[in-house]
Amino acid sequence: MSDKHVDEVSGVETTGHVWDGIRELNNPLPRWWLWTFYATIIWAIGYMVLYPAIPMISGATKGVLGYSSRQEVAENLADAKAAQGTFVEQIAATPVEEIEANPELLQFAMAGGAAAFKVNCIQCHGSGAQGSEGYPNLNDDDWLWGGSIDEVYQTITHGIRDPQDDDARFSEMPAFGEMLEPEQIREVAAYVISLSGTPSDAALVEPGKVVFEENCASCHGETAQGDKDFGAPNLADAIWLYEGDEAGVAAQVRQPQHGVMPAWGARLGDTTVKQLAVFVHSLGGGQ
């Protein structure tokens, strides 16, 4: 534009644009802004040279540093593994029953076990390992297959009645509905209930005792204290895996239910199972 217009108040040239008598000052960009802008350009050039930046038909330019986010994740994972490194190795090398004697290993195993428990175990045993009907409570001192850390470790590794693991703990109570008269089942149920101090029909208890000794004592024991070799539950204690009344016991005698727990050794690896065993053993009922 040939006719330059200079604003009177500021003494600054205007752009020549007028809106309703208002003119736009043609101030230069603030210097700090301009230098910041140049700095970002230099930064961007440096960035494009150093890092992957320009998209190509397959992938993008690699950048001088050879950075990739995928590789960074891999490195982070490797770092995390390395941070656990010695502990994981130590746990792998330590027999499970000796882990608790080492406070550092115990702490690591407890944390790892608690995490693995939350991922793999709470679906059946509950978030507090409190169990539910048919799924044992792991906090108490009643163990179907033994509550020493070794036995717990064995149970987790191979599972219970897992058809895919030949070493899985296995036992099945016969369905006595086909072998005993309904009356006999009522009697033996009343007897079993009476063993843990629950009141039951005295007229049924006496004959029930006979039925028990003839049919049940071979596995559950003379005093109904159970047998961990067969996973035969203790029937004289206060804890019931299934319903603990006469009807519940009778149902279990007639047509027993059997819980199945998968074998975890192959799935989780030995160190994780060891940590799980330590965690479960520490819950309060470990023997």
Binding site: S10, P103, G126, G128, N137, D142, D237, S282, G284, G285
Partner: protein, 526 residues
């Protein structure tokens, strides 16, 4: 046009012009933006300048030396007197060690700092701004460098407008280099508060310090250089909120740097010429010494203003001039608004005429008896006493809390799930997470026992002790130990769904103890 003039109409000259002025009249509009005018403060000398040197030495000394002080806390704790150990979440201050949950001590100190600021400001104005604010101290330090290299005000102004000769380049480069070095030292000192200073210093120079240390030094170097060297008074005027808050703290009895125009005006150098015209001049000879020394570049004679940080250098400058003239000091002085107004009333005859400096003096040249002078007693008034009391009460409360605080703590968390566990023999077991805090830098054996739960015993995994009512648990120095606790109560003692009992943690050697009242849950009675 007379033909259009009708009867009873007045002539245009007879219409009165009203005394009205639009607030934004075109002729008084100014652009909103004004470019900064560079300030070249002249070196001042005098009482306040000396006091400011002293404050500068003390504050910078505290800042740079503190991290290097040692304090023996035994083999289990760091020996740095003041240390903010972020990694381990401990704060050490000489004999005091603070854990994160004791942060209220720091909050209390901050509240005290707030009230201290109110107290100081209501008593002596913006003393914080003028003497101790880091911005003021570092600008002062940067000015020392500037003056040493480029000379005082006039030399610096000359250099500023001089062409870029080798001499100017050399001076500018060395000035900025030293400023940057001071910036590095400032940022460098800061990081020593957060780690063992000698170790960090070594690691810093061999390149082994954590990245955050280098970043902190970098950022603080940049801000120190930028704020102290380049931005200076703009930080106070435009960035700092404190100048805007100060007005609420000042009252008519606050001592603030004041130009006493009741004895200064009318200002002028030529007393005799003025006397010949029948005017007697005041003490101000309009030498502008007060303006030249001002680091904010303002004229205190315009009265109290936002920009004034009350550094009192204008008092020194003016006192020097008054001394030379053989006049009383205090033309610019710390004065209260109340005193100032009373003196003004004397000088202006109660506001009836312009300032007449003769009115404040007796014929012998001394000040009139009624003229009010600086009196430090004005500091002690109801307002400052209230601030002082609140400040002291908070301080005492913190001190009592500090001296009576526990160094052994017990936190107990009942298991949420399961609430209780039925054992095979019918007993009930409850699980707890127990945290034992040994807050002294020595290892301790803490006895944990249960009281008030009949027949109950406890065990803890990892603490290999037989079930009983008491466990001896060793806790590392200055550490928290978390243990899982299983408390079992035989079924014959169980009375209801919830029983309260006490968990007691005790250090038998010092008799320190902490008690936690916990719940023991059991199934509802059937």
């Amino acid at each position: 046009m007379n033909t259009h003039t009708r009867q009873n109409e007045v002539a245009a000259e007879d219409i009165e012009r009203l005394d009205a002025d639009p607030v934004n009249a075109a002729w008084k509009r100014k652009p909103l933006y004004e470019a900064r005018k560079k300030i070249f403060p002249k070196r001042a000398s005098g009482r306040f300048r000396q006091f400011k040197w002293l404050v500068m030495i003390i504050t910078l000394g505290i800042y740079y030396i503190t991290p290097w002080l040692r304090w023996d806390r035994g083999p289990f704790a760091p020996d740095q007197a003041v240390l903010v150990d972020l990694a381990n979440r401990r704060f050490y201050f000489f004999f005091i060690e603070i854990w994160p949950q004791e942060f209220f001590f720091v909050a209390g100190l901050l509240v005290m700092a707030g009230f201290g600021l109110f107290l100081i400001t209501s008593a002596v104005g913006r003393a914080w701004c003028g003497y101790t604010c880091p911005q003021t101290v570092w600008v002062d330090l940067y000015l020392v460098v500037e003056r040493a290299i480029e000379g005082d005000r006039n030399a610096r102004m000359k250099l500023e407008s001089a062409p870029w000769t080798f001499d100017k380049v050399w001076k500018r480069v060395s000035k900025h280099a030293i400023w940057l070095l001071i910036g590095v030292a400032t940022g460098g000192a800061w990081i020593f508060y957060f780690a063992d200073a000698p170790t960090l210093l070594h690691n810093f120079f061999v390149g082994n310090a954590p990245a955050v240390a280098y970043m902190t030094v970098g950022i603080l170097t940049a801000t120190t250089y930028l704020f102290g060297g380049l931005m200076r008074e703009q930080v106070c005027t435009y960035m700092c909120p404190w100048p805007r808050i100060q007005a609420a703290m000042l009252d008519e009895n606050s001592l603030v740097v004041t130009y006493n125009d009741w004895r200064g005006e009318p200002r002028g150098k030529h007393a005799k010429k003025a006397a010949a015209q029948g005017v007697s001049l005041g003490d101000c000879v309009d030498c502008n010494a007060c303006v030249a020394v001002c680091p904010m570049g303002i004229d205190i004679r315009d009265g109290q203003q936002l920009e004034c940080i009350t550094c009192a250098l204008c008092i020194d400058a003016c006192d020097g001039v008054m001394d030379k003239l053989g006049r009383d000091r205090g033309l610019i002085a710390y004065a209260t608004l109340a005193d100032y107004e009373q003196n003004m009333a004397i000088a202006t005859g109660g506001g009836t005429h312009a300032i007449d400096p003769e009115k404040v003096r007796d014929p012998d040249g001394h000040f009139h008896d009624k003229v009010k002078h600086f009196d430090w007693k004005v500091i002690f008034r109801l307002r400052t006493m209230v601030y002082m009391t609140v400040w002291a009460v908070i301080g005492l409360a913190l001190l009592v809390a500090l001296l009576s605080r526990d160094r052994l703590e017990l936190n107990v968390l009942h298991d949420r799930n399961p609430q209780y566990v039925l054992q095979s023999n019918g007993d009930i077991q409850n699980g707890f997470t127990v945290k034992l805090l040994n807050m002294i830098p020595e290892p301790r054996v803490i006895f944990l026992s249960i009281e008030g739960l009949p027949g109950a015993t406890m065990t803890a995994p990892g603490v290999n002790q037989p079930a009983g009512t008491s466990l001896a648990i060793s806790v590392e120095p200055d550490r928290l130990r978390e243990i899982k606790l299983h408390v079992t109560q035989p079924k014959e003692y169980i009375e209801g769904a919830v029983a309260k009992f006490r968990l007691v943690a005790e250090d038998k050697s010092s008799t320190e103890r902490d008690v936690y009242v916990a719940n023991f849950n059991a199934p509802e009675a059937r």
